[in-house]
C-alpha cells in the first residue's frame, strides 16, 4: 500500500475525508474501486469499533411460529438472533479453526472417546448468574433428549454420558469421534441456565445482547448486555434489531431506504443492480452449501455406474454457474466438500465432456429418456438449471425428460423418494458430519442411496483418527469414491450473498454461514 493511500484511508476512518472523496483520490492514484474499498474497511477495523447506535438487519427466514428455544431453531432469523443473545461452548473461527468460547480448553483421551471441557471463569448469564459446568452439562443433556426435538439431536445421540465435575464437563462417547469439538459448535447448542430445562424459550443466555423484544415473525430486539465477557470484541451497537422481511423486493427496498443496515439472501440476479446503489456493499462469500441433482444408486436405471458417469459428464457446470448463479458461487466436482471444510484436498475438476458422456451412455446400455424431477423450491433457479442440463445432455445424445413438481410437498413426496431429482444441501461444519448425514448406508437422509460397506468403514475410521495428515488422506479417498461412484451430481456450490448499507463497518468474512456465521449484528458497528 502506498503511503499516501494509507494516509488517506486513515483519514476516512477518522471521519476527516468522505468515502466518495477517498475513492476519487484512490482512482487518481490508479487504484481500482473494489481494492480501494477493501483498504477502507481494513482501515476502519484498525481505527477500532465505534460503540453505540442501533444496528438493524432485515432478514428472510422468520415466521410467527418461531420460538426462542434454541433446540427448535431452524431458519435464518432465530439463527442470527440466537448468536446475539446466546453464547456457544465452542465456535468455528472465520479461519475455520476452533475458537474456545465458554469452554476454555477442550481435551480428549488418546482414543478420542472421552472428552473434557474446562469451563471458563467469569462468564455471566443475563439473569446475573455465573455460567457453571452444570449449566453446560444440562444444556448438552437437554439436546440429547428426544423430547427436546433438538436440531442437534442427530450428533448428540453419539454421546453416552455427560458429567459435570467441578469446573469440568466430561463427555464419554459411544464411538470415538475426533470431531467432537466441531459438533459442539452447532448453533443449537446455546448454553442456557440449567440447560433451559426449566423454561426452554426464556431467551436467557450469555451472549452480547439481552432479549428485549421477541415478536416472532415480526421483529426481535436485543439490548447490549453490560457484563458480556468479551465486550471489547462483540456487542458494539447499543441495540440490535432483526426485522423479519421475507419478501426479497421489500428487503432490498428496506436496505435502499435506510430502514435496515444489512440484509441477507440477495438474489443473484439482482446483485449487479444493488451493487450500483451508493453506500451499499455486497458481502458475498462461498460456503459449504451446494445445489445438486441426485440419483438413487440402487434404483434402475441409476444402479449402473456408467449411466451415472454419463449423466455427470453431460452437465455443463460452467454454464450453470454463470447463468443460474450469475457467477456467485463456485464449480462443484460431484463430492459434497469444498474449501470451506477443514482437511479439504483439491481433486481434479470434472468437466463437461459430451463425447465421453456419449461413450458411457452407450456402455450403460440404457435406452430411451431419463426422467429428472425439479421444482422451484429445490433451489433458487432449479427449473432453469434443469433446462440447461437438458440442453447440455442432448448434445451428448442423452434425452432428459423434465418433470416440474409442485413446491408443496416436494420434500415429502419427491426428495429422498424419487430416483432422480434436484435438491440442495446447506452443508455441515465438518466432513465427517456431511458424510455421516448423507452418505452412510444407515443414514436416513442418504438421498443418493449410496450404500457401500467399504465407504462406511472409511467414515468410521476417519472419525476416530486423531492424526490430521492421515485423516486428510482418508477424506481424499472418500471424496474420490463419492465423486466417481456415487449418485451425486454437484454442479455448483452457492455463495451467501448479504448486503450492508452505508456506515456499517467491521464486517468479518466467514465461510460457515451467512451474515458472518450469524455474528454480523454482534461484530459490526456503525461508523460515526
Amino acid at each position: 500500500m502506498s503511503n499516501e493511500l494509507d494516509y488517506l484511508s486513515r483519514r476516512v476512518a477518522a471521519g476527516k475525508l468522505s468515502r466518495r472523496d477517498f475513492l476519487g483520490r484512490a482512482a487518481a492514484l490508479g487504484i481500482s474501486a473494489p481494492f480501494a474499498n477493501s483498504l477502507l474497511s481494513s482501515a476502519a477495523r484498525a481505527a477500532g469499533p465505534v460503540k453505540g447506535g442501533t444496528l438493524k438487519a432485515g432478514l428472510v427466514g422468520g415466521e410467527s411460529t418461531n420460538s426462542l428455544d434454541p433446540a427448535l431453531m431452524m431458519t435464518q432469523v432465530p439463527f442470527a438472533f440466537g448468536k446475539c443473545w446466546g453464547e456457544m461452548i465452542v465456535e468455528l473461527s472465520p479461519e475455520g479453526k476452533l475458537e474456545n468460547r465458554i469452554a476454555e480448553e477442550i481435551g480428549s483421551s488418546k482414543d478420542a472417546k472421552v472428552w473434557t471441557l474446562k469451563i471458563r471463569d467469569g462468564v455471566e448469564f443475563h439473569n446475573g448468574k455465573t455460567v457453571t459446568a452444570e449449566d453446560v452439562a444440562a444444556t448438552l443433556e437437554r439436546h440429547s433428549d428426544e423430547k427436546s426435538k433438538s436440531g442437534a439431536l442427530g450428533y448428540m445421540k453419539g454421546i453416552d454420558t455427560i458429567k459435570a465435575n467441578g469446573k469440568e464437563v466430561v463427555l464419554t462417547l459411544k464411538e470415538a469421534n475426533a470431531d467432537l469439538p466441531y459438533l459442539l459448535s452447532d448453533y443449537h447448542l446455546i448454553v442456557q441456565p440449567n440447560g433451559g430445562k426449566d423454561k426452554p424459550d426464556a431467551g436467557i443466555g450469555a451472549g452480547p445482547y439481552k432479549v428485549k423484544v421477541n415478536e416472532p415473525g415480526v421483529r426481535h430486539v436485543g439490548e447490549r448486555f453490560a457484563n458480556y465477557w468479551q465486550g471489547d470484541k462483540m456487542g458494539h451497537a447499543d441495540q440490535v434489531e432483526v426485522v423479519v422481511i421475507n419478501d426479497a423486493t421489500a428487503r432490498t427496498a428496506a436496505l435502499q431506504g435506510g430502514q435496515v443496515n444489512m440484509i441477507n439472501r440477495v438474489e443473484p440476479k439482482i446483485v449487479d443492480l444493488i451493487k450500483r446503489v451508493p453506500g451499499v456493499t455486497i458481502r458475498n462469500h462461498s460456503g459449504p452449501g451446494h445445489y445438486v441433482f441426485i440419483m438413487h444408486c440402487n434404483t434402475a436405471p441409476f444402479d449402473n455406474n456408467d449411466l451415472r458417469m454419463a449423466l455427470k459428464l453431460a452437465i455443463d457446470r460452467e454454464e450453470m454457474l454463470n447463468k443460474v448463479l450469475r457467477g456467485y458461487g463456485s464449480l462443484g466436482n460431484d463430492f459434497p466438500i469444498n474449501a470451506s471444510y477443514p482437511l479439504f484436498t483439491e481433486i481434479e475438476q470434472r468437466k463437461y465432456d459430451p463425447d465421453k458422456a456419449k461413450f458411457h451412455y452407450k456402455k450403460s446400455g440404457h435406452d430411451g429418456s431419463v426422467l429428472l424431477r425439479t421444482s422451484d423450491v429445490a433451489f433458487p433457479g432449479a427449473v432453469d438449471a434443469a433446462q440447461l442440463y437438458q440442453q447440455s445432455a442432448a448434445k451428448a445424445g442423452i434425452k432428459l425428460e423434465i418433470k416440474r413438481e409442485p413446491g408443496d410437498g416436494y420434500w415429502n413426496e419427491v426428495w429422498n423418494k424419487q430416483p432422480f431429482c434436484a435438491s440442495y444441501w446447506g452443508g455441515r461444519s465438518t466432513q465427517d458430519q456431511m458424510y455421516s448425514t448423507a452418505y452412510l448406508s444407515t443414514a436416513d437422509w442418504n438421498d443418493t442411496r449410496f450404500k457401500r460397506p467399504d465407504f462406511d468403514k472409511m467414515v468410521l475410521a476417519a472419525r476416530a483418527e486423531l492424526d490430521e495428515a492421515k485423516r486428510k488422506a482418508m477424506y481424499h479417498d472418500m471424496a474420490v469414491m463419492v465423486r466417481d461412484e456415487g449418485g451425486l451430481i454437484l454442479p455448483m456450490f452457492n455463495q451467501f450473498i448479504d448486503a450492508t448499507g452505508p456506515k456499517v463497518a467491521g464486517w468479518v468474512e466467514d465461510p460457515h454461514q451467512e451474515l458472518s456465521n450469524g455474528y454480523a449484528l454482534a461484530k459490526c458497528w456503525l461508523e460515526a
Binding site: S67, G217, R219, N246, A250, A254, G257, G258, D408, G409
Partner: protein, 319 residues
C-alpha cells in the same frame, strides 16, 4: 319502526349465522384436503417415519375428521380457538394483536378511500362525459386494474427508495407512537386505497346517474338549484342503497383481501399470519383465520343488506 322490517332484519341475521356455519364446514373440509399434513410440514426435510408417527399421535391427527370438526366447533363457540400446532402458542391471543393491526390499517385506508371515492363519484357525475369525468374514471380504473403487488412496489420505489419519504417496510409494534404508526402504514394504506377506489367511485357514479334521469331531479333543476346541490340533496340520498352496498363490500375486502399487501409491506397483520401458518400446515390457525375472515365478510354484507333495507322507503313502508 314497523314489524316487517324487524322480521326482515332478523331473517338476514339468521341467514348469516347459517351461512357462517356452512362456511366453517367448508373451511374444515378444505384444510383436510391440503396435500401433506401438519406433522410432515413441521418436520420438513428432517422427517423420519418414527418421528412422523410420534408427532401425529401427539397432535391427535389419527382421530376421524368429524370428531375433530365437532371438537373444533365446540372450542370456537366457547371462544377457544385452540393452540397453534407449530409454536404451541394460544391462537386467540396471537390473533388479537394481528387482527387489531389489520383493522387499524383497514380503518385508515377506509377513512381515506370512502370519502375520496364518493366525492370523486359526485364530481364525475357533475361533469359527466366531460374530460374531468374521463380522467377520474381512467385513473381510478387503471389503479384498480393493476395487481396490488405492482402498485405496492411502485409506491415503494418512488416514495421509499427514490425519495425516502416513507419507510419501505411497515413493521409496527406496541412502543410506536401514533405518528410513527401513521407514517409506517402510509404506503400500504395508499396501496389499498388505490385498489378499492375505482369500484366505489364507479358505483357511486352509476347509481347517481341512474337517479339523475328521474322526473324529480328535472324538477329540482328547473327550480334553479345548482348542479351540485341537485346531486347532493336530491340524487345522492336516493342512490344511497347501492352505494352502501359497494362500500361495505370494499370494507370487507380491506380486511380480508390484504394478504398480498401485508406481505409486500411486511405488515404484521392477519394476512401475514395466515401465510406463515399455511406454509407450516398449521391447520388450527388457518381454520381460525379463515373463520374470522368469513365472519367479517358475512357481517359486513349483512350490515349492507340491512342498511339498504332501512334506506329504502319502499322496503320500510311496504304496501
Amino acid at each position: 319502526m314497523s314489524s316487517p322490517i324487524v322480521k326482515l332484519v332478523a331473517q338476514r341475521i339468521a341467514l348469516g349465522v347459517v351461512l357462517l356455519l356452512a362456511v366453517s364446514v367448508l373451511i374444515f373440509a378444505g384444510t383436510q384436503i391440503l396435500p401433506g399434513d401438519v406433522a410432515q410440514a413441521i418436520l420438513g426435510q428432517s422427517a423420519t417415519p418414527e418421528s412422523l408417527a410420534n408427532l401425529r399421535e401427539q397432535l391427535g391427527l389419527n382421530q376421524p375428521a368429524y370428531i375433530r370438526y365437532l371438537h373444533w366447533l365446540g372450542g370456537v363457540l366457547t371462544g377457544d380457538l385452540g393452540t397453534a400446532m407449530s409454536s404451541g402458542q394460544d391462537i386467540a391471543t396471537s390473533i388479537k394483536s394481528r387482527l387489531w393491526n389489520t383493522l387499524f390499517l383497514a380503518f385508515w385506508a377506509a377513512i381515506v378511500a370512502i370519502p375520496l371515492a364518493i366525492t370523486l363519484g359526485l364530481i364525475a357525475v357533475r361533469y359527466r362525459n366531460g374530460w374531468v369525468d374521463k380522467l377520474i374514471s381512467g385513473v381510478a380504473l387503471a389503479s384498480t386494474s393493476f395487481p396490488e403487488f405492482f402498485i405496492g412496489y411502485l409506491l415503494v420505489f418512488y416514495f421509499a427508495v427514490q425519495h425516502q419519504w416513507f419507510p419501505a417496510i411497515s413493521t409496527v409494534y406496541d412502543e410506536m407512537s401514533f405518528g410513527e404508526r401513521m407514517q409506517a402504514i402510509a404506503l400500504p394504506a395508499a396501496a389499498l386505497t388505490l385498489v378499492v377506489l375505482a369500484h366505489m367511485m364507479r358505483m357511486t357514479r352509476a347509481a347517481i346517474l341512474n337517479v339523475m334521469q328521474s322526473a324529480y331531479v328535472e324538477t329540482a333543476e328547473l327550480k334553479g338549484l345548482s348542479a351540485f346541490a341537485v346531486i347532493r340533496k336530491h340524487a345522492f340520498p336516493n342512490a344511497i342503497a347501492p352505494i352502501i352496498n359497494v362500500v361495505m363490500l370494499n370494507l370487507a375486502y380491506l380486511v380480508v383481501g390484504v394478504v398480498v399487501v401485508e406481505v409486500i409491506f411486511v405488515y404484521p397483520g392477519m394476512g401475514q399470519y395466515l401465510v406463515d401458518h399455511v406454509t407450516k400446515r398449521d391447520v388450527p390457525v388457518v381454520q381460525a383465520v379463515g373463520l374470522i375472515f368469513a365472519a367479517v365478510y358475512i357481517t359486513l354484507n349483512i350490515i349492507a343488506d340491512i342498511a339498504a333495507i332501512v334506506a329504502n322507503p319502499r322496503l320500510r313502508h311496504p304496501k
